[in-house]
């Protein structure tokens, strides 16, 4: 019995590509889940959506110029976030409308470029990731960015949390609010870039939202929300990667399915505990 269970884990890991897939999924699962807490609390879900779509023309351009694709993706993603902020501040159009135009415009530009330019960038891989085909080089690159971003966010989590909760107070006690704002945007772009090869620009959006939303449903303290989000995300990444091998289905989508299922479960559990709280509050 135990042997069969153990085999479920060891069998996939006998393959090197599965080892790489598991490692990279855990790394990006961690960085995405940490960022998801800030994203959910700041109400930036659409921003995550926007920045990830906007990296597409950056990939195409980077290929043409001959620089690493990640750098192109990072610059394009950040450009989308900054352009959105600039247009919002200097016009009467509301942020969500500006964002909608900027990111779909950039995404479309990327599609146009990819149909015209001969690249070795596969559109399907960019959209949905190719976690099983990931190279050691990719693992090192994604892992370095993911670990760096995770550390920065964990170490400065109180400052970022305060910025999300009450930017006015953050400013009043002398924190540099613009620095925190752009810091978060840069971290968002980097997180997306690190997840690009494994999860793709569509699926990363879910990884950037679901764990934080799950944590938010289940607790009332920020640090606990962070722990729940990370646990849920890493659990999904491990089970998703291993199960995809046995079921012979696509890996990254399965991870996202598990995360979404856990979120739905958290919604029901959260509603029950909330109901209990109201009862005890009333007496």
């Amino acid at each position: 019995m135990i042997d069969t269970l153990l085999a479920l884990i060891t069998e996939p890991l006998a393959h090197e590509f599965m080892q790489r897939a598991l490692l990279v999924s855990i790394l990006i699962g961690t960085v995405c889940s940490i960022f998801s807490c800030f994203l959910v609390l700041k109400g930036w879900s659409l921003m995550g959506d926007a920045v990830s779509h906007a990296v597409l023309p950056g990939l195409a351009l980077a290929f043409v110029i001959g620089i690493p694709l990640s750098i192109g993706a990072f610059i394009a993603g950040l450009f989308c976030a900054l352009a959105t902020g600039y247009i919002k501040d200097n016009s009467r159009v509301k942020e969500d409308a500006v964002m909608g135009i900027v990111f779909s415009g950039l995404f479309a530009l990327g599609l146009v470029m990819l149909t015209k330019i001969e690249t070795d960038v596969h559109l399907l891989h960019v959209l949905f990731g190719n976690i099983l085909g990931i190279s050691s080089q990719d693992v090192i690159e994604a892992g370095t960015i993911a670990i760096l971003c995770s550390l920065i966010m964990l170490i400065k989590r109180r400052d970022f949390m305060l910025y999300c909760f009450d930017p006015a107070h953050a400013s009043v006690i002398g924190l540099r609010v613009r620095f925190l704002h752009f810091g978060l945007l840069i971290l968002l772009a980097l997180t997306i870039v690190s997840s690009l090869k494994a999860a793709g620009i569509i699926l990363v959006i879910s990884m950037l939202i679901a764990p934080g939303a799950t944590g938010f449903m289940l607790t009332k303290s920020f640090d606990r929300m962070l722990i729940i989000a990370m646990s849920v995300s890493i659990f999904s990444c491990i089970t998703g990667t291993l199960m995809s091998f046995h079921l012979d289905v696509a890996t990254a989508p399965l991870i996202v399915v598990i995360q979404a299922a856990l979120f739905i479960m958290a919604v029901f559990v959260g509603r029950q505990t909330q109901g209990m709280k109201e009862v005890s509050y009333g007496t």
Partner: protein
């Protein structure tokens, strides 16, 4: 205790989208007083606050706090801000003690790890606003008055001498309003400056010492006795107020020419009584402890 003085000189603010929020506002605020900042919505009350909080850059003029630039004053934690209830995300996963601890972040090191001094300051601040027993509650589980109190506690824990309060009485009942006013008066007695942005006219004479009336430009500034007059209020609010006047014969059967004027928007009304419909008597008596039984 130092004597913080806020000097606002010829302050103008125009937002990048072209909206002129403030034009040529100059006031000097002394410590040890409560100053009301009164005007209609969009009159520039929050822009004036934002200028003092380093959130908007003046297009002309400047703000100095205790002789320093706003930026330096903020670094020294001289200014505290108590936000409007509507501005706060009450579902945010923070406990009461977490919020009050945020007041101490400016005193902490790089990692924001609270020291014993920080924990003590938080405990004292919670004690001061009578919220110690609620410290483990999530902020959304509090009543309207309690919600206000924890943000006042955060300002106290921060230790600033200038406290900016944005609409402190919206969504709180009269009893809570009275106890908040008592709290503010005890803070001012210790030499702080409290600046209160409000459109709640009726409460201004009962707790403010000075008042600033603005509508993009400065309309009037001075003590409540001399500044909070019907004429100035008409200038500040134009036709925005409900205005009831009962003069002489409407009110008395004798020759008495005095009358009553009631000015109100949606909150507590301002009642003026005296000759010419109350133009000459402008102050409702400051509430004393003895009045409240």
């Amino acid at each position: 205790m130092s004597n913080p003085i806020v000097t606002i000189k010829n302050l103008s603010v125009t937002y990048p989208n072209g909206h002129h929020a403030l034009e040529d506002v100059s006031v000097n605020l002394k410590s040890g007083s409560i100053c009301g900042l009164v005007g209609v919505n969009g009159a520039g009350k929050s822009t004036l606050f934002k200028a003092m909080m380093g959130f908007v850059k003046p297009t002309a003029g400047n703000v100095s706090i205790d002789g320093m630039s706003v930026r330096n004053a903020l670094k020294k934690n001289l200014v505290s801000y108590v936000p409007q209830t509507e501005e706060v995300d009450w579902d945010f996963p923070v406990l009461v003690e977490d919020v009050v601890m945020m007041g101490r972040y400016g005193h902490m090191g790089f990692l924001r790890r609270p020291s014993k001094t920080d924990h003590d300051a938080v405990a004292q601040a919670l004690e001061r606003v009578n919220m110690s027993e609620y410290k483990k509650r999530q902020i959304g589980e509090l009543s309207g008055g309690q919600r206000k109190r924890i943000f006042v506690a955060r300002a106290l824990a921060q230790g600033g001498n200038i406290i900016l309060l944005d609409e402190p009485f919206t969504g709180v009942d009269i009893k809570t309003e009275d106890s908040l006013i008592d709290l503010f008066q005890s803070l001012v007695a210790e030499g702080r400056l409290i600046l209160v942005a409000t459109h709640n006219l009726g409460s201004v004479p009962s707790f403010c010492d000075e008042v600033i009336l603005i509508n993009k430009t400065l309309l009037a500034y001075g003590s409540v006795e001399t500044t909070f007059t019907q004429d100035n209020l008409s200038k500040a609010f134009g036709g925005m107020l409900r205005h009831h006047q009962l003069i002489g014969a409407d009110l008395h059967d004798d020759e008495d020419a005095r009358g009553v004027t009631v000015l109100t928007d949606d909150e507590r009304p301002l009642v003026l009584y005296g000759e010419e419909g109350g133009k000459k008597i402008v102050r409702t008596p400051k509430r004393k402890k003895a009045d409240k039984t």
